[in-house]
Symmetry: none
Subunit: 518 residues, 2 copies
């Protein structure tokens, strides 16, 4: 028996986030990840509302640890529980557990549902009793609980008590609009516990940037189930982020939960990939920058003792430390980097790499974020450069002659390591796209995997604003091959050249990295 | 006198975020925005550490509301205060206020600084006394205060007391590693207040996803200064987000602060643009999705009463509900703008301008920061367009053939308002520079003042990262004629075309603006 029950609602409330649509296959993949992580409950969706969720619940899902939950609402006003389509769909769902929501805010009862407060109490009681009588275990989500509590405490408490008396195993207090402060949540939870006993859950939204804090405050006050979503996905500003709540509860507050948080970083990235949303690099605990360190003094202290500048060990959540290479970070950082790359960090090598980095940084390069360019530079400086291809010549044409559409075309010659030449050309949406297309086209002849590369970000930064269009520009390009992501950098006064340097580095990295032994 | 003093550290601690580099011009622009917002203190940077910050502080910055603060550290161990280069740089900074940090965690004192606890106390005392004696008002940032308090309460309290006794006006308790819980922050603040009296600030990092909550908890416990950054920019997972802290403090907790939070959304977007980072759509309060509603039932209830599903009115932070409803708040702004431009804001004109803006924003344009492009668009839509020149044709050549230097050349035909044609060509450092040079060369024939224009910033933002090099890009160009500065915008999948649109707008603005009657 753990202290805290973890209820994941990524597939239901998380999927409400704008821009997210999860297919049946997506949902199944996320369920497998969550089960492996070890959450207690996985809310899969609302079988009454759409065919995907109906299919999902039409057969039993065998899981190692988690229990599936089907979501719905209390019966419609004026319809008997046994005749209600929503409750029927819940009974048909092949799950032991169901979760239904009902209203706890008097204002919503009278102004939105337009029924009396007593009728709403009956809806809640009937619906839960009916589900329980028909063999379901019920979790009751009290919508807008904290707004309700602030508006009419007695009524909100009555809703919670009614749900419990009707047979709900858990009563979840929801901060639906995300407007509550942790102190208010804490007070309401303590007060409500006196009515319901030890069966309270908490469900928070992040509109005040306090979803995690409110969740922890509720637990502090005695709530024993946390409803969370992976990466804080959810409507508007999202829900309480599982990837923050679980480490805070375990590493900071000492609670025992069933989930293995050392898998969190992986789960977090996987859900972003599946939901096709960018992964926030700066996310607490699981972001790729969460344990990134910059600045010489920091790095020295960190290498003496990671505890100096790290609140928890990155491994505890399956993440890793990342030391940025920059002018300031000095020999210790470079030495560590060489070591990670499987290259012996001799005094001489470290010195040469540092020299080269300083030289390029003076020209406007920045290797902090450009991991792939940095690794290529290190290999080159250490005499380990691969030269998979060369570009003896290229040309780009851009013109508009009286027809109002600008045309871009690039021609290119590429030579592989054995001296084979490919001469080709391509159009593009702009000159960078044209040269990217031509380069990929040429290289695909020698390296078919080039076809799988996808550029996922392209940034341009002007380095010396006073020089304006004649200023050196820094281009950073982020690429993925579907498995890994990397960043490369190029600097030139010519935006095309800077782009080409970064593009070439990226493709060089793609075709050589698998051959490196680390 | 307000309840809470707002200390912005976007330009110092915020700029520590990976990937952010702020030029002098960027910093000045952000300072102007923060002053207009009305924060109390703006920490501009560390004059001892880099030339940009030294220039920034080399002259006094006249502000309407805010006070500039220069940042540094306590003197180096073994160096007298009067001989310390860092303290010297602070004295030379043309600010009334300075902020220095010192260590409050015994572990850091003995393991990182490698001095005795008493020596550290002396560093702090000396440095503050020296600055005060030389006429500075001092804010002392107690680094790692909460870790220090947990490790050796007596020593942490002694550090805070020493700073106060030495003459610091404010003592800021910093959760440098971002690992503290709100309850721990609250306890330490209450306890420390007994030592220092009412002069405590709070500075939190977001590594546990609790920076905002810890900041509020400190204020609840009696701290009266909040150190925050716009959009929560900062090292690793960022700092406490001003855009959440200020509305929480005012709208939720009822505190009086000097800043006008109805400007927050604008400031938040402007800082993202200037720092060239993507704006998080899901950010609480100021994100473009923060007040976006999905799902029929929600919308119905919302239209009955916005209070049903909105924790605060979006206008309170200068945000908007959604495109349909926002038109109304948009109208007022456009109407005001027309008025400022000396154009009568008739219903019809405002409607047409709004329509045109919405259309272009749908294509990726953004007019908030592009003042000159917006004015040109308004004049055009209102039938007041000047057509000082046209560009019937241009061509750009970029090539590298075996000699390792990429050449860019542009040829262009420009026709003035009287039909006179100028056909010319120019080389350039890259294609954008070549076309800029050719355009300026041609236009100088007709408008000599074109020769005085200087482009002071050139930004490129990829709008849909998944489309990579074929994605639409937005180019923002900032130009000055020595007296005035203005910004123009262009959008295209072709970076050259987007640049050209912005360049042409800028030159059009330069040669016509003086003829407008406002």
């Amino acid at each position: 028996m753990t202290d805290i029950t973890v209820f994941d609602t990524t597939l239901r409330d998380g999927a409400q986030m704008e821009g997210i649509t999860l297919s049946l296959e997506d949902k199944r993949e996320i369920i497998a990840r969550l089960d492996d992580l070890g959450v207690d409950f996985i809310e899969g969706g609302m079988p009454a509302s759409n065919p995907t969720d109906r299919s999902l619940f039409s057969s039993e899902i065998e899981l190692a640890h988690s229990k599936m939950v089907a979501f719905g609402s209390t019966r419609k006003p004026g319809v008997a529980a046994a005749d209600d389509a929503g409750l029927k769909a819940l009974l048909e769902a092949r799950t032991e557990w169901v979760c239904i929501f009902g209203k706890a805010w008097d204002f919503h009862v009278t102004e939105v549902l337009r029924i009396t407060e007593e009728e709403n109490i009956e809806l809640i009681r009937d619906s839960i009793e009916y589900l329980v009588k028909n063999g379901k275990k019920v979790i009751f989500d009290a919508e807008h609980y904290f707004d309700g509590y602030a508006s009419d405490r007695t009524y909100a408490l009555k809703v919670a008590r009614t749900a419990r008396e009707a047979g709900a195993e858990w009563v979840t207090l929801c901060d639906t609009n995300g407007g509550s402060l942790p102190t208010a949540v804490s007070d309401a939870v303590e007060d409500t516990l006196l009515e319901t006993g030890d069966c309270l859950g908490i469900h928070c939204h992040n509109d005040s940037d306090l979803a995690v804090a409110c969740t922890l405050a509720a637990v502090d006050a005695g709530a024993r189930m946390v409803q969370v979503t992976v990466n804080g996905l959810g409507e508007r500003c999202g829900n309480a982020n599982m990837c923050s709540v679980l480490p805070d509860l375990t590493l900071k507050m000492g609670y025992d939960i069933g989930a293995d948080i050392s898998k969190l970083t992986k789960v977090s990235h996987a859900v972003s990939e599946i939901a096709n949303v960018a992964h926030d690099s700066f996310m607490p605990y699981v972001g790729s920058k969460s344990f990134t360190h910059k600045g010489g003094m920091h790095i020295d202290a960190l290498l003496k003792d990671p505890h100096t500048y790290e609140h928890v060990p990155p491994e505890s959540v399956g993440n890793r430390r990342n030391i940025l290479i920059s002018e300031m970070s000095g020999r210790a950082g470079i030495s560590k980097k060489l070591d990670e790359m499987g290259i012996e960090p001799t005094e001489e090598r470290v010195g040469e790499v540092l020299e080269r980095i300083k030289d390029l940084e003076g020209k406007g390069y920045q290797f902090e974020a450009a991991d792939a360019s940095l690794e290529l530079l290190i290999r080159k400086t250490c005499g380990l450069e691969d030269v998979p291809f060369g570009i003896p010549a290229f040309r780009i044409y851009i013109d508009e002659i009286g027809d109002n559409s600008i045309k871009s075309e690039a021609s290119i010659k590429v030579v592989d390591a054995n001296g084979n030449m490919e001469h080709t050309a391509s159009d593009g949406d702009g000159p960078v796209d044209a040269i990217n297309n031509a380069l990929k086209k040429a290289l695909s002849k020698f390296y078919p995997k080039i076809g799988e590369l996808r550029l996922i970000d392209y940034k341009v930064r002007v380095l010396d604003e006073r020089a304006a269009t004649a200023a050196p520009v820094r281009v950073m390009i982020r690429t993925t091959d579907g498995k890994q992501k990397w960043t490369t950098v190029g600097v030139s006064t010519n935006v095309i050249e800077a782009s080409l340097i970064a593009l070439v580095d990226s493709m060089k990295y793609a075709v050589t990295k698998d051959g490196w032994t680390a």
